[in-house]
């Protein structure tokens, strides 16, 4: 009832294109390149018409040798996705989305934290591991308008994420992630100049419990990155098994693009996320902090039938650990802060796409380099790689049916790297080498360096090159001029250097109107 009401409201908009024509327009190389990431207003200028998609999807992943043990070796997830773009008038647009997902990650090792990339390196981990269930709710909505030569937009997104395990050790993580952005710009001589401001509020509460009558079967470690951990708060004591992350992020972006889509475009952005990590059961002691900064640059040209672009990004993260006192006053006092971790990642690449009637071909190449260092004990990991991708797509556009078939091949080639932990682990691959004893620490090695051992195994996995092949098949059937139903299948297959394989897939069905 609600769905049919929604559909009737949206198809009442006065569009001259059929739904199949609108779906086909979204597949063009020009439409894909016209998006300005991070802008809350630019979609008003994009050539896309009002469009709504409701889809049920199934995501899956199987990896014989997982690229990231912390995310498990396989995953299944069911999703419900709704997204809409409405154009109430020629000078305003509204867009929104709702996403619900529920799934299971299997064989997660050395991680009980959610959003690993965001809270790294200060994650919580246990040695047992296991499966993790998750549930996600995500909402976003925005409004954009052009008044005279003044363009503006406001957009908000909220994500709630719940992850848990129902056997010991039982982490329960609850994430709340709010993003707000506003954009203001001027239309000058057919070109938009705009600036955006971002704000992010992030929180994650973590609680690990044990309920087995046979006792606590593992210690839970507060990792500090690159195979090291904090000794004082690690263990199985309830006092240290509850943690809380609280993040605040800000940023800005400048962008310019032509109103008529065709032409030169460029954008540059800077973001900062300050993630504080507290021990709620220890008087909310501020335990660690991670500051992540990122600069992104994009430039490109969109022609009538081809697009070309270049991008570069630099991200650096500073990890700070508090020196807490002995707690004799009944609460942990923060005595000083030590910068004990640093990481950086630099990437640069170029891409191009060309469209000839129903065919499109695309190619891209990207070089990336990452490094991370721990100050005490000294430890270091570096990795660099190049990725080259070539793809093609065919779209049949009919009056009753749209069919789409695409394929892509990618080579991921690591160029070299090194991992060294001053307490005993050194590996090198490619052009990099590590000399025995180049890392130095006066401290004695602890007996248990298993976290360094796991980090070492992770490094060796990341040093493997691979071939990646992707396919995409889709069919869309018009119910009438305004409503269609569709089914899509996407799959990616990876063959690693050592012969191990991985597969990712997504199946979705739904309707467009």
């Amino acid at each position: 009832m609600m769905l049919s009401l929604l559909i009737s409201v949206f198809i009442a908009q006065n569009d001259t294109l059929t739904v199949l024509q609108k779906s086909a327009a979204r597949e063009s190389v020009v439409a894909k390149a016209a998006t300005v990431e991070g802008s809350a207003a630019s979609y008003l200028m994009e050539p896309l018409k009002a469009y709504t998609s409701i889809a049920a999807a199934w995501n899956g992943r199987r990896e014989e040798s997982p690229a990231r043990m912390e995310e498990g070796d396989s995953m299944d997830e069911g999703q419900l996705n709704i997204s809409t773009l409405v154009r109430p008038s020629g000078n305003s647009a509204v867009r929104g989305s709702i996403n619900y997902a529920r799934g299971l990650k299997r064989n997660v090792i050395w991680n009980t934290s959610s959003d690993y990339d965001i809270v790294y390196p200060y994650t919580l981990a246990d040695t047992v591991g296991g499966n993790l269930n998750h549930e996600k709710y995500q909402f976003s909505g925005g409004y954009s308008a052009l008044k005279g030569n003044f363009l503006w937009g406001l957009e908000g997104a909220y994500r709630a994420f719940h992850e848990y395990r129902d056997v010991d050790p039982r982490p329960r993580n609850i994430v709340s992630d709010l993003n707000v952005r506003g954009t203001a710009g001027l239309l000058l001589g057919g070109r938009v100049l705009e600036g955006s401001l971002f704000y992010r509020r992030y929180s994650q509460s973590q609680n690990v419990t044990f309920v087995s009558e046979r006792g606590r079967n593992t210690s839970v470690f507060h990792l500090t990155g690159l195979g090291d951990y904090n000794w004082r708060f690690s263990g199985a004591s309830d006092a240290y098994l509850t943690t809380r992350y609280s993040g605040n992020g800000v940023g800005f972006q400048l962008a310019t693009y032509p109103k008529a889509v065709q032409g030169w475009r460029a954008d540059a952005s800077y973001t900062l996320l300050n993630m504080a990590h507290y021990l709620p059961n220890q008087n909310e002691a501020l335990y660690t902090q991670a500051l992540t900064r990122e600069i992104r640059l994009n430039a490109g040209y969109i022609g009538r039938r081809f697009t070309a672009g270049a991008h570069a990004a630099y991200q650096w993260r500073e990890g700070i650990e508090s020196v807490l006192d002995n707690g004799k006053a009944g609460r942990f006092l923060e005595l000083t802060k030590l910068p004990l971790f640093g990481s950086s990642g630099l990437s640069a690449g170029a891409d191009a796409a060309w469209q000839l009637k129903n065919w499109s071909v695309s190619g891209s190449a990207e070089w990336s380099s990452q490094s991370a260092t721990g100050a005490y004990p000294e430890r270091e990991m570096t990795l660099s790689a190049i990725d080259v991708k070539l793809g093609g797509q065919y779209l049949y556009e009919g009056s009753k049916w749209n069919f789409l078939a695409g394929a892509e091949i990618q080579r991921h080639q690591p160029l070299g790297g090194t991992y060294c932990h001053s307490e005993g682990y050194c590996h090198s691959e490619g052009y990099c080498h590590s000399e025995a004893g180049y890392c130095h620490s006066e401290a004695e090695g602890r007996e248990n360096l298993f976290s360094a051992e796991y980090e070492s195994a992770r490094f060796q996995r990341l040093c493997q090159g691979d071939w990646r092949g992707s396919i995409r098949i889709g069919a869309e059937r018009a119910v009438n001029a305004s409503v269609s139903i569709f089914a899509n299948l996407c799959g990616q297959f990876i063959i690693l250097q050592d012969g191990k394989k991985a597969a990712f897939y997504n199946i979705s069905i739904g309707c467009h109107f």
């Binding site: 401001l197 704000y199 904090n230 000794w231 004082r232 800000v250 940023g251 800005f252 800077y270 973001t271 900062l272 300050n274 902090q289 500051l291 500073e318 700070i320 650990e321 020196v323 807490l324 006192d325 002995n326 707690g327 004799k328 005595l335 000083t336 802060k337 030590l338 910068p339 004990l340 100050a375 005490y376 004990p377 006066e442 401290a443 004695e444 602890r446």
Partner: protein
Amino acid sequence: MKKTVIAILLLALSCTPQVEENILCKVTLNLSLPDGRNMVSLTIDPTLEGNIFQNLNTGRNYPYPLIVNNTGQMTVLKGVYMLGFDGEAVFEDGSRVKVRFVSWNTPSTAVELLDDSHTLEIPLTILK
């Protein structure tokens, strides 16, 4: 509006917590006996379980430096430390005596080493 934008930009550019530039502390150990005698050397066996120079936060345990003429130096990560030991002191006449220091060997008595350099005055007890 203008002030809000400026405030957010300033926050974005300057939001760096105050941290220590130097993470290490150079520690000088000045040891003394009740009778004021000079120890030519003092050896502390790192394999004895009670002999600790341990960072309370990271758990790292440091070997004691060689103590010559009542003093020794070592470099540690800035932090809060538990320290205590049994050792054997050697005097100029070749005589030996067992000594002990246990005043700071629990978390509640741990000592803070937060400056770039720090001198610890350590009064020893002679074991009979």
